[in-house]
Symmetry: C2
Subunit: 455 residues, 2 copies
């Protein structure tokens, strides 16, 4: 065995007691969201029909630490703290002097980091008397996380899944039903938004935009029903900071500090959850890690998008958020890392990026699957396609260390396992996966439809 432990575990009592709100430590506050009609800053009242009061308060809070309720910690304790694992076998394969550590979030019931926010969202809603939650899901990661969380607090849960995924990937839907939630193929006949689409196109494959509209419509139609979102918003990023807080404690146990923190970014919640607590330490001068966001080359919001006010959804019904965007109607190529195919980036991450506190890079999917395969064959864990982006960047950095001789300590997160993505690995192994050329014309066209806001 290696001398230092390979898995750094924490006991239940070491589970963080607070989430970390980075806005408290930023030199300037991020720009506020705007009403889609009036272009005026929106207030809590605008959000009340959809979200629990406690979540709206967290969305706009400037408190540094927000206490994690005991009831939420009690559910977290079913799988948290998650292990911090050193990828010694991968290091050996790469023959690198670098250390590669990863925080593994695949041990949660739903197999990803998503329950970290699904659980508090369900808890606060249940506490405020809500009886049903609605949401949308693409491949099903978020929908299954919310279904699990809802069953813990005796909430009903209704999920609209993009029709194409509903048909092609039935297993996440089975998981959602196993946890007692209801799932609909979107567009459905249950909402005006769905019926409208089906009238025009009875065989519509659906889209996240349509599914959001359906879930929101269903939530607005019933006072006892709220809506839940799995990424992008401040309170979602907040809840995910348990990942980074645990990792800080774990590194302290083995007397290390990371030199480089690498996370994959779609909406941004996993990246923020891993890195923001370390960014706090960096801002306070207690450590100095380099922080790197990795996005897919086919959906490069940070590296190729503009920092503009834009809608969060395809249909332009959500508040306008200032964020890195490729245009709200930009449709990225159908890469396998479905969780990273979002046209925008969380406003908070976009803001932090503009402040120069983090870096970003983009990775093509075949390089990611190559790294994912090497990871699976050395570390045993088959990562979901999303974290292979971070792994690919970590591998690149570790190989650079082989050249330079640097003994960098690299931290990344494997934010989910790939048990429901094995057909993607098959496609890679049989040479069917390709890297799509980025369609810059499509981006330019999508950006031309982003509203111009006078600031």
């Amino acid at each position: 065995m290696t001398d230092t432990p390979r898995r750094v575990l924490l006991d239940e009592h070491e589970l963080p007691r607070h989430w970390y709100n980075i806005t408290a430590d930023l030199p300037e506050a991020p720009p506020p969201p705007l009403h889609p009609g009036t272009h005026e800053p929106i207030g809590p009242d605008d959000l009340a029909p959809l979200f629990a009061d406690a979540l709206i308060a967290q969305e706009v809070s400037s408190e540094r630490y927000i206490e994690i309720p005991e009831e939420v910690r009690d559910v977290y304790a079913m799988w948290r703290p998650t292990p911090l694992i050193r990828a010694t076998r991968l290091e050996r394969l790469l023959d690198t002097p670098a250390q590669i550590w990863f925080k593994y979030e695949g041990t949660s019931p739903a197999g990803s980091h998503k329950p970290n926010t699904a659980v508090p969202q369900a808890y606060y809603n249940a506490r405020e008397g809500v009886r049903r939650l609605t949401t949308e899901t693409g491949a099903g990661q978020w929908g299954s996380a919310l279904a699990f969380a809802a069953t813990q607090f005796d909430l009903e849960c209704e999920v609209w899944q993009v029709a194409a995924s509903f048909q092609q990937k039935p297993y996440r839907a089975s998981m959602i039903r196993t946890w007692g939630a209801t799932i609909h193929s979107s567009p459905s006949e249950l909402t005006a938004a769905g019926r409208q689409v089906r009238e025009r196109d009875p065989d519509s494959p659906g889209s996240l935009g349509i599914a959001i509209s359906e879930a929101v419509e269903a939530a607005l139609a019933d006072d006892a029903t709220h809506y839940a979102l799995g990424s992008v918003l401040n309170h979602v990023l907040l809840h995910q900071t348990v990942i980074g807080e645990e990792a800080l404690t774990q590194f302290a146990k083995v007397g290390l500090t990371p030199d480089l923190i690498i996370g994959c970014t779609g909406g941004g919640s996993n990246f923020a959850g891993l890195s923001f607590p370390f960014l706090r330490e960096k801002l306070a001068g207690r450590m100095s890690p380099h922080i790197l966001a990795v996005e897919p080359a086919s959906c490069p919001t940070l590296t190729k998008g503009e920092y503009r006010y834009d809608f969060g959804d395809l249909a332009g019904m959500t508040p306008l958020m200032k964020m890195h965007t490729l245009g709200h109607d930009f449709i990225p190529d159908p890469i396998h890392a479905g969780g990273l195919r979002y046209h925008g980036m969380a406003p908070l991450i976009s803001h932090v990026y503009e402040l120069g506190l983090i870096d970003a890079t983009a990775m093509p999917q075949t390089a990611c699957f190559e790294a994912g395969l090497n990871f699976a064959r050395t570390e045993g864990i088959i990562p979901a396609p999303e974290p292979t982006h971070a792994i690919a960047a970590a591998v690149r950095e570790a190989l650079a260390c082989r050249e330079s001789g640097e003994e960098k300590v690299i931290l990344t997160a494997v934010c989910g396992h790939g048990h429901f993505d094995l057909s993607a690995y098959d496609a890679y192994l049989s040479g069917e996966l390709v890297d799509h050329e980025l369609d810059t014309d499509q981006i330019a066209e999508a950006m031309s439809r982003v509203p111009v806001i006078a600031e």
Copy 2:
């Protein structure tokens, strides 16, 4: 949070250093396996073409403890020690004064307890110069475990999967390929055994019996190739005792001893792995747990089978083993717990059962899925269909405690997650699953073809 920890974790250095060989502590040794032709006891030489010397030595060893090689512990440490978890939410649902604890083996790379033996089997073979391992697999649990283990020791691995599963459940095959192994649909054109079947029936759905024949034939055809088996044999049960040894340490940490230990049984390796270390303590008078094996009502080898010498495979090519059997050509109903559909029971477990050291019960599958669903909705983890049998029995015992007021400490094992079995949960939820009437005529007929051995 509850006062006692819900998850009892062990550090890497608490990983067991020895496997436990129960034959050392039994009042009499189990009857020896016999040569299928001569009916004489077989010796190590008979097994040498298929198995590594170290494994053959373990198969016949009477040493109480066998050291786990450092190289094996180093791979175990990727996911072991596994957590011991108290099912507090399930207890609450059942309103029982009993404590229900489960050892969770689903955190292994392959998602089940199977790597506990796949890893040492790969290790010893690699150490003895073997370059390739062959095996058969049904639904794919064992095949994927061996593929993972082989990649850790740079062995080639070739898996014959029963054609029906190969076609209907492609994801385990993808997993096997992701770990770099080769997989064939069985019957294949690669072996005489396979070709023979295909000649008669080009569309044969295959069977475990045919797949075993193919894997054994391929191993015999090449000096650098050995065969690996995932259950039934003594050395396989031996390797699984890490489960029980860890659980003993974990219970000691919280100052508890189990009153009742419940495991599901197919070939028997998971049950033996969990219970044999506790049985040692019981035999030594240090604790007195009741030990219960749970088998499917449609394949009740312990409760309805005879204790006889019989073949391990359908075709009658393996050594004769004295075991509880329903007849080597008995084909159980196609229940979803494929891992429990074996006509015989491990000779060592059969022997221990005959000695009166353990009890057995049989459970119909709908009751098992009902328990599995309640477990998933309370504890978050979706169990594979196999461990739902043990969960169902644990629930029954916990409900009995509600009646009697007894505060029993129940221990069971969730030997694998159900991520690749979600269609079975769907079938249960939609009311499609039924309990098959046990075909006693078929058993009687199969038993009539079991050879009569003069003892």
